[in-house]
Amino acid sequence: MDGNELIKRYESGDTDFQGENLCGVNLFGADLIGVDFSECDLRRSSLVLAYLNRANLSRCNLQGAKLSGANLSQADLLGANLQDADLHGAILYAADLRGSDLTLANLLDINLISADLRNVNLSGANLRGACLRGVNMRYEKRCYDGANLRGADLRNADLRGANLTGADLSKADLTQANLSEASLREVNLTGANLTGAELRGTFLTDAIAVETTFKQAVLVNAKLERMNLTEADLTECNLNDANLTGAVLAKAKATQATMRRTRFNRADLSRADLRDSDFNEATFIEAYLGRADLRNAILKDANLAKAELSSANLSGAMLQGATLPDNSIYE
């Protein structure tokens, strides 16, 4: 069946096209609100700027399909195959994409606000400038695996308030992305790039960020308890008021960073490079700073009670008013 035929059928009231073969069909700008395309074969079809609000596209095959600017608000895309699909500037507001496959799809500037992306495969996808506000990607035991965003391109994406608990973001590119208030608990950020990202108030508790780059990122008030930041790059980042209790920063590089009032209680900062950073009023209770490099760091009014500083390098560090490991105050 070709595009015109389909539209005629739709206009005459028939919305059920379940299981049909619609390969390569051209439905540019078509009005197909509420249509049922479940289990259809829509490979390489053109649905550019089409209206598919509340359509049923579950388990349908949209491999290589062109869906630029298509309106798929509240559409049902459960288990759909969208590999290599073009969703540039599409609207997927509150769409249900659970279990769908979006490997290598192009999601540039897409609207995914409040979409349900649990168990979705977005590895290698292009999500530049995408808006994922309020998106649900969280891991649920025995139910949904964590979302797969390995190597995804999320530069400049808006992820404010998104729930990415347990997601796999290894090697993802999140440069300049906005993740304020998002939940990234237990997320895997190994090798990811978060240069210049905005992470105010973000929850990164128990996350893994080995060799991750946070250069110039803003992590003010973020929750990083027990996070693994081994060999991470935190140069020039802003961690004011952040909570890194129990975090591991072994061999991390955090030079010229601003870390006022940050909490490093029981953190492992062994071999970390912390030169020229500002730790004004930070707390390091019971922290382990074996061979840490604190040259020229500002530790004014910091609390280092019970911290292990014996092998740390403190030359040039400013310690006025700091509480030293033996509980005395540095004059």
């Binding site: 609207i91 540039l108 905005e198 008030n221």
Partner: protein
């Protein structure tokens, strides 16, 4: 999920609004400092709110919206906040403190995690405007509930009619003095001035300076809190000298000058204690101050020398463009436009000069200040030249060397190697003859023979007449030579010309093309300017594109603009529209799709902001583009949304929108409310008939029905 997200949960809650007194005025005097202050205050208020088990819902930029489950705690929180503020006022100078008003109401409302809605919220907001600076105003409901939990000293204000609220709301003022807040210097000053014989005149004058209009109604003035208005007044100046300057210029505009000079003197005496003791109390009456009166507060670059002010004022008055210079000066000092030449004559130029000098500490600040004000005018081109002249004249008063390139910031980099044959012209001053002199005719001939002659003449016409020719026959009515003469007159130096060309080209849609044309024009007119060409120190191989202030722009966060656009329109359509407006019309070919994918929506929006210098330009550009493309109706809707969300950027001004105003925890106000709050920032209009800068557009008003 949707409805609960939108509406929130209905619940009984106490809502508390705070607002900073005189925020806009303070911002226009010292933006950065005021922003620091408000950030500090809002942070303090947030902390206190959390201590009293409240929740900060959002920030309005200069205040906070908090919600409490206990009315008693809300009132306690408000009292704690005002006490802290008062405490700070006792120790810090007035320019380092802000005063706030607080309004509290208890009602049933809809609360979402980031917002609160309901009639009750509006009542609280209006109550806050009823409060005194540094005061708290609560509704009957709050009073009834709170009085059982607290020892509240209140004053019944009677049933208040609040704007846009149907029912009358009985309100109470919470009394903080005298037990809670023992004598602070503002109260003392207020009492002192109150007791003087000129009490009402003092009020009038201070009110006039703060609010910029004269209040004759005695009853209105008497209900004002003198303490509050004194604090506002002191906040406008960061030194005794500035204060004096402000008083002077204000008095200078009045009819009863001698009476009010005495009043001003009294005020100065009263507030002297806020400033270090070694200040002269004498009102500046054009007399030389004693030689040892160099106060610590006067910076080294500002010289208090009467003779120099007189000289500058004289030069100004003898300048050919004196009327415009004075108008601009007046505008900067009074923040109000005066077209009446009689009133302008009455104003003392010396005082204006002195006031402007006291407002800025070096020549760069002056330049920025002048630019800021010029940006808000309609006749921007003319006044930007006037502004430059002004800065040039006032510069020497700052004791610093006026850098050579002061006027050429951001101007065009010339490339003198491009061939445009213009006959060599000997040093000839432009003559005021009926026929344009040979020089212009010669240049005109060269321009007309140039392959791009049509565009050259269009641009020339636009520069002189501020109107874009649609009909080519219109171009022929005015000979090119005449236009050249006019343009030369408008821009007496090559730098001026460069600036004018910059401003104008930046407002066009085809910037790249007209940039090159402007370049040609500049070269063509080059021989008319006798001075040796001040070639900018750029590398010879530099491209000939006109540089606008792109490099100086700070990074702007567009996340909220993008969110708004994504929520209310199709992102692809927005991109197609922006792309067509900035590059070439989108025609749905494969090549076009490919090109479009190389741009992010974010990048396109930034380009739009760079291209359109003001809101009107943006509107014109986008509506024009929408109408050119397929399915214009849908695209016009898209244009509406894009303009709506970019508007906030133009209203608020250049600095990063929203990023600085948000506190770390509280969410920011939605863009709709932001616009409503910033209506006051809209461009000022001159009284005279002005010619618009944009080419004649159909009224955008037709398309505004969708709001």
């Amino acid at each position: 999920m949707l409805t609960s997200e939108l509406k929130g949960n209905r619940t009984l809650a106490t809502v508390l609004f705070t607002d900073c007194v005189g925020f806009s005025a303070r911002m226009s005097v010292n933006e950065e400092h005021t922003l620091d202050l408000i950030r500090r205050d809002l942070k303090l208020m947030s902390t206190i709110c959390t201590t009293y088990e409240g929740r900060v819902l959002k920030s309005t930029g200069d205040g906070l919206l908090m919600c409490f489950s206990s009315a008693v705690k809300a009132v306690e929180c408000a009292i704690a906040v005002q006490k802290e503020m008062a405490e700070a006022m006792r120790t810090l100078p007035p320019s380092d403190t802000l005063m706030h008003r607080i309004g509290i109401h208890l009602a049933d409302m809809y609360i979402t995690p980031t917002d609160v809605m309901g009639n009750g919220v509006n009542i609280a907001a209006r109550l806050q405007t009823e409060a005194d600076p540094g005061g708290i105003c609560i509704s009957q409901t709050v009073f009834d509930v709170a009085k059982h939990g607290l020892q509240l000293e209140t004053e019944y204000l009677g049933p208040r009619e609040l704007k846009n609220i149907r029912e009358v709301v009985p309100a109470y003022r919470v009394l903080l003095e005298p037990d809670d807040v023992p004598g602070d210097p503002y109260t003392e000053t207020a009492c002192l001035l109150e007791q003087s014989g000129n009490g009402s005149r003092i009020r009038k004058l201070i009110f006039y300076i703060c609010k910029n209009h004269w209040e004759h109604d005695e009853s209105k003035l008497s209900t004002l809190s003198l303490k509050g208005i004194i604090h506002e007044f002191l906040g406008l100046a960061s030194s005794y000298e500035q204060l004096r300057g402000l008083l002077n210029s204000a008095v200078g505009t009045l009819s009863k000058q001698s009476e009010y000079t005495l009043v001003a003197n009294e005020i100065l005496k009263g507030v002297a204690k806020f400033y270090p003791p070694n200040q002269s109390l004498q009102l500046w009456q054009g007399q030389l101050p004693p030689a040892d009166d160099r106060s610590n507060l006067i910076t080294d670059s500002l010289v208090c020398d009467d003779a120099r002010y007189q000289d500058v004022a004289q030069t100004l008055e003898q300048h050919p463009d004196t009327l415009r210079l004075k108008k601009l000066l007046y505008y900067i000092c009074q923040r109000q436009w005066e077209s009446d030449s009689a009133r302008l004559q009455a104003t003392s130029t010396v005082q204006l000069v002195q006031t402007v000098c006291s407002l800025t500490q070096d020549v760069y600040q002056l330049k920025r200040l002048v630019e800021k004000f010029v940006q808000t005018l309609n006749k921007r081109i003319e006044y930007s030249l006037v502004g430059t002249t002004l800065v040039g004249l006032l510069g020497p008063l700052y004791n610093a060397e006026l850098p050579e390139n002061l006027e050429s910031d951001g101007s065009i980099a010339f490339d003198l190697t491009t061939a445009l044959h213009v006959p060599e012209i000997d040093k000839l001053a432009p003559l005021k003859a009926n026929e344009p002199p040979q020089t212009y005719v010669a240049i005109a001939a060269a321009l007309e023979q140039h392959p791009h002659s049509l565009r050259l003449r269009k641009l020339l016409f636009y520069l002189c007449k501020s109107q874009w020719v649609k009909d080519l026959s219109q171009l022929d009515t005015v000979p090119t030579a005449v236009l050249l003469e006019e343009l030369h007159h408008l821009a007496p130096t090559i730098n001026h010309l460069g600036q004018v060309l910059n401003t104008v080209v930046a407002s066009l849609s085809k910037q790249a093309e007209y940039g090159a044309i402007a370049q040609l024009l500049l070269q063509a007119m080059h021989p008319l300017y006798q001075a040796p060409t001040p070639v900018k120190a750029t590398a010879p191989g530099v491209s000939t594109s006109i540089a606008t202030e792109q490099s100086e722009q700070t990074f702007i966060s567009l996340f909220d603009v993008r969110l708004g656009i994504l929520k209310y329109t199709n992102p692809l359509k927005a991109k197609i529209l922006a792309f067509s407006a900035l590059h070439s019309d989108f025609s749905f070919t494969d090549q076009d799709w490919f090109n479009l994918k190389t741009y992010e929506l974010d990048g396109l929006l930034r380009n739009l902001l760079r291209t359109c210098q003001n809101y009107t330009d943006l509107e014109n550009l986008l509506y024009r583009t929408a109408r050119r493309l397929q399915q214009p109706d849908e695209l016009i809707q898209t244009a509406d949304t894009v303009i709506k969300y970019l508007r906030a950027y133009y209203l608020h001004g250049r600095p990063a929108l929203g990023v600085d105003l948000a506190s770390t925890d509280a969410t920011r106000i939605s863009l709709d409310d932001f616009e409503a709050a910033t209506q006051g920032f809209a461009n000022l209009d001159e009284d005279e008939q002005t010619r618009g800068l944009a080419p004649a557009p159909p009224t955008p008003a037709e398309y505004h029905g969708r709001q």
